[in-house]
């Protein structure tokens, strides 16, 4: 199995196999995750505006829910990536025989 899926050097072919395609999209998702985190966590900047009406427990619950969501997504995506990689490795092994 490739140590790192991003190390795909050489010219990028136009069409790739389905699992390679899936793996790349997974990597895209992993890359996009911090952007999502920034957006969701910077929303509280709006709460400081007068009349925003967000306070106390609700704010706390929101922030921690985002936190847990991001952790779960990060973990889940990495797990999925590992599964795809493993499957790709198996495919290669079988074809090699």
């Amino acid at each position: 199995m490739a140590d790192d899926p991003a190390d795909e050097s050489g010219p990028v072919p136009l069409f790739v196999e389905r699992h390679t395609y899936r793996r790349r999209r997974l990597m895209d998702a992993i890359r996009a995750l911090p952007v999502l985190g920034v957006v969701l966590w910077m929303l509280p900047m709006l709460w400081a505006l007068p009349g925003a009406g967000m306070r106390g427990a609700a704010a706390l619950i929101y922030l921690f829910a985002v936190w847990i969501g991001l952790i779960a997504l990060a973990g889940g995506l990495l797990l999925a990536l590992r599964l795809w990689e493993r499957r790709a490795g198996l495919d290669h092994g079988e074809r090699g025989r």
Binding site: A6, G37, L46, R55, A57, F64, A74, G75, L78
Partner: protein, 894 residues
Amino acid sequence: MTTLNGLAAISVAYVLLLFAVAFVAERVAWRGHGRWLSAPVIYTLSLSIYCTAWTFYGAVGSAARNGFEYLTIYLGPSLVMIGWWWGLRKLVRIGRSNRITSIADLLSSRYGKSNLLGIGVTILAVVGTTPYIALQLQSVTLSVEAFASVDPETAGQGRHTALWVALGLALFTVIFGTRSLDANERHHGVVMAIAVEAVVKLAALLAVGVFVVWGLSGGVGATLARIDASPLADWTVPGGRWAGLTLLSAAAFLCLPRMFQVLVVENDNDAQLRMAAWAFPLYLMLMSLFIVPIAVVGLEMLPPGSNPDLFVLTLPLSQGRDGLAVMSFLGGFSSATSMVIVAAIALSTMVSNHVVMPLWLHYREGGASVSGDVRNVVLLSRRLSIAGVLALGYLYYKLSGGGEALAVIGLVSFTGVAQVLPAMMAGLFWRGATRNGALAGLSVGFAVWLYTLYLPSLGTGSVLPPSFFSEGPLGLAWLRPDALFGIGGLDPLMHAVLWSLLLNTLVFFTVSLLSFPSPLERLQGAQFVSIQQTPGRARRWTGGVAEAEDLMVMTQRILGAPEAHALFLREAQKQGMPGPLPEPTADFLETLERELAGSVGAATAHAMVSQIVGGSAVSVEDLMAVADETQQMVEYSARLEAQSQELTRTARQLREANRKLTQLSVQKDAFLSQISHELRTPMTSIRAFSEILRDGDGLGPEEQTRYASIIHDESLRLTRLLDDLLDLSVLENGQVSLNMRDGRLSDLLDRAVAAAAASDEGSGLRIVRVEADEDHWLYTDIDRLSQVFINLIANARKYCDADAPSLEIRVCEEGGDLVIDFIDNGTGVATEAQEMIFEKFARVSDREAGGAGLGLAISRQIMTRLGGAISYLPGQGGAAFRVVLPQAAALAAQ
């Protein structure tokens, strides 16, 4: 009631446990069974030194004072870890492949192994970390005092807590942090102990949290209701501060020397990072989960005026839960000690590699190759550095009086180390970043930070007079530390963060653009930026100068004899050498330098190797190797394109030539049949009439004469044909001798017209001439030239197919050359035939005209010999030929 003595006993027992854990881990690693020591879980837990006593105690205090703002300190690092793919992955890889030992080493290595930069970052790190260490000492002292205040008998006994803690930590760090000069600078014992402490502090904080929520508040619902009812409930964090603090904490997470130590230096493989990417945010989330409930309940239950920084400890104490309080104390103690240990290791590595070793190398005569053990020097300098760093922290604590809120000191420190961020990130992603830019940016950022945040944090009136802050230095209001450039009203922290990072980045960028890096710097820059593309390192040593034995001596004194022997033997075997010493090839020197860099830092290792090798060299090949590959590809493809264009051109020319050859071949065949026909016709009549003459006895003399004259005429025709062929062959071979003499053009033309008219054919041709134009004197071969004219006029007679054929002879001067055009009014020559008519055996038309197709070929040869030219002139209505005589041949009219 836990007495202070009891607390001291528990603390000592805990510290002994840590010693044991570290010791066992070292032993296991030494025996080579340490696979599990680099497990991703341990790595993730070791990252928890981000959560210091500031988190453990200070977060609750921050929440009690400023509401939800404390969360930003954990959101920033969470984002960095979740976004590991963007920056951390590259940073960690560079750290591993270049054997980076500290953040100062990273910058020094990236910017051409500049030790000046290393020293700069070291100073910044020491100044920025000292208050942080003081903060830890203060928190332990405060927590001990909290116990003492509950126990009136022992009040005042914990006066020297900070000193004892500092001494104990120095001892632990010296023992486990400088145990050996590990080639890769990893400290398994310390990391293991820190992982244990990470679990302890998380468990302690969670335990207090659970106690508060379920024990004191009565469940989750009730706690949430309390939060809503408390003064914390209103969202009071300004937007700028929310975003600014998140950014600041993210920056500090990457730049803090101790974080860099665990994150990059102690990193072993990518799998560790992958797990930490989600597991460390989880750790941070759990650490901050119960902060608000503890703060709310503390504010509610504890007497007003009690220090909110200690709620984690005082809440269980006030409820008589001594066990929980002791656990909480141990959690805080763990937080403080783990931070101090790693910070001291990181700082001592920097100080010894970038300050002590270069100085030592500089002042030792003969440099690295003299006898004496460098290892002892390095280790001693590290031990002293550790003691020095802790002494500084203790001093700061004593001087600052320890009265300030914990969070404020922490943020001052964060802002200081964050100044490294622009130079570090740009160094990873921008090849144009230069050493001078990094130095300038760091200096400016450092100065602004000192001025706007650090000095004010010492308290107004302590170092600088109060007027300095209210009116600015020397009365210059726009230089007031809290309102630079007259922009006041900002939160002091945000003010400092904004200006220091902004000016830092601006200066760094500008100077980078303006300065020019050295070759080594460019080489390193290219390597760092494209670490994913180039797994190997470009060479930089020109081998062959160094003596392997000298290198061996030096390596022994840094790595130790057994390690050095093993390394040299391994390299020798790799090279296929029979003995234990490898050839000092460029490859070997580079490997050696990297090994040494793991012990003494890149800049020092580079300096030491170059002392023996006699100066490093970056060859042109090196630079070429790392030169932009895209550029090479572009050049290559351009070259290919040019070649293919040239090929196309050549192919077209070849096709053209081939077409001409084919045409010629067809014509030659046609000519051969024509010439055999031409030869055969006279030969047939000659043979027939000579037979008649031979056999015909009864022929009259009249008939005999007639037959003989026919034979004569036919032989003349044959001779003419053969003469032409001979003439052409002579001309072509250049064997002709020219008979140069003067002559008038008009005379020449008169003669040519007369000669052409002598033949019977086409006598109806009218010739148009302008006598006045023909008044030119020539110096040339008159006979040959008239041969050309006769040929052209005769051609017109033969081939002009007009009803009233006429030939116009025009003479004019063009650019000094004399041009004579012969233009008739026939149909002319077909376009496809125009280029063929000057070839041998070519005929202008299919009409039977008696010629052998040699006339124009001969004419062209003659004109070439005379230095002129003859060509077909298209577009004149009929067949038109142009004869050009060069200037030399045409004399001015006389």
